[in-house]
């Protein structure tokens, strides 16, 4: 009878175990390879689409409408972007108080807020300011980064110069589906094709909290402002016209 610890037997056992180990490794490598093939070849389009939907924000920026000028180059109608600031008040009173303290960095934002915040304000979206000019809006950049509930958004405001007669001739604009302005009546409607710009489209990747990753921002299509229209009319304007 051979002893169970004879070198030949041990070698055979190790050999067997090594073969089993090799088989397990091969099986493991095969499974990984199949899964990789599944993701990278067979379900590639679906996987990439799902990943992009979650990780990439595709957006567009409405273009500003062109101006209307009289024959001497005086501006009769022009558009300006103005900004609104909303605060999504947290549902938790403590969190709301902390955020309010942060908002205090810009006292003009919190000037209209009651102190302390009433309970029925919790969880509500509050308008803090509107009609802000761009210089004021960009001051809120650090605050908007720190406070997820602070929303700064932009809308167009169309200005018309001249008296009521001129303004009636120029017509009115409304908000278009693409976020820009569309001519509804008068010369604004007549020259709408020329005055309207083309929105710019972009893509940017998001981090796990949904924030933009600046270095991944890329333009998809060019942002083109609307063209100006010069009328064959001469209009006398009062003081305090357009910039």
């Amino acid at each position: 009878m051979r002893p169970s610890h004879s070198p030949a037997l041990i070698e055979a056992r190790v050999g067997n175990r090594l073969t089993i180990l090799l088989f397990v490794f091969c099986l493991w490598a095969g499974i990984i390879l199949l899964r990789m093939a599944q993701f990278m070849i067979f379900e590639r389009d679906r996987t990439v689409e799902a990943m992009e939907r979650e990780a990439v924000f595709r957006g567009f920026v409405p273009a500003a409408r062109g101006r209307i000028l009289d024959r001497d180059g005086r501006v009769l109608a022009w558009s300006e972007r103005v900004f609104s600031v909303h605060w999504q008040v947290p549902r938790d009173a403590g969190q709301a108080a902390r955020e309010r303290a942060l908002l205090g960095a810009e006292p003009w934002l919190t000037a209209g807020l009651p102190e302390p915040l009433p309970a029925d304000w919790l969880g509500v979206r509050v308008l803090l300011a509107q009609g802000l000019e761009v210089e004021r809006a960009v001051q809120l950049e650090p605050l908007a980064d720190a406070l997820r509930g602070l929303e700064v958004s932009a809308v167009f405001r169309r200005h018309l110069a001249g008296d009521a007669g001129v303004q009636a001739l120029l017509g009115r604009v409304g908000r278009a589906a693409d976020g820009g302005e569309v001519g509804l009546s008068g010369l604004e409607q007549e020259h709408d094709e020329v005055l309207r710009g083309r929105p710019g489209v972009f893509e940017v990747m998001l981090d796990k909290e949904g924030r933009w990753l600046p270095e991944t921002w890329q333009k998809v299509s060019e942002l083109r402002p609307g063209y100006d229209v010069q009328l064959p009319l001469r209009v006398r304007l009062a003081e305090g016209g357009p910039p």
Binding site: R53, R58, V61, A63, V201
Partner: protein
Amino acid sequence: MSIRPDIEAWKQRFGVCLLAALAALMLTGARDITQELRQRSARLEQVRTQLSEWSRHLAGRPVPTPGPDLASRHALFLVRTCALPTRQP
């Protein structure tokens, strides 16, 4: 004739395969990272230029900012505030 596996030979083969796979992975990764690093500054400059073009249009007039970094952050902020999401299919 022995049917026992030659353990040393198998070890060597397995080791060589493992090393080859690891080397391939590391080389691929290193190449991608090198390319990314080489293109990074050009890419950042391109993003900065495009964003500043857009922000000039969005502001409608030059907004004075001290320094290119702050100008770049303001440009991104302006684009973010004016942006609307495209409709998902």
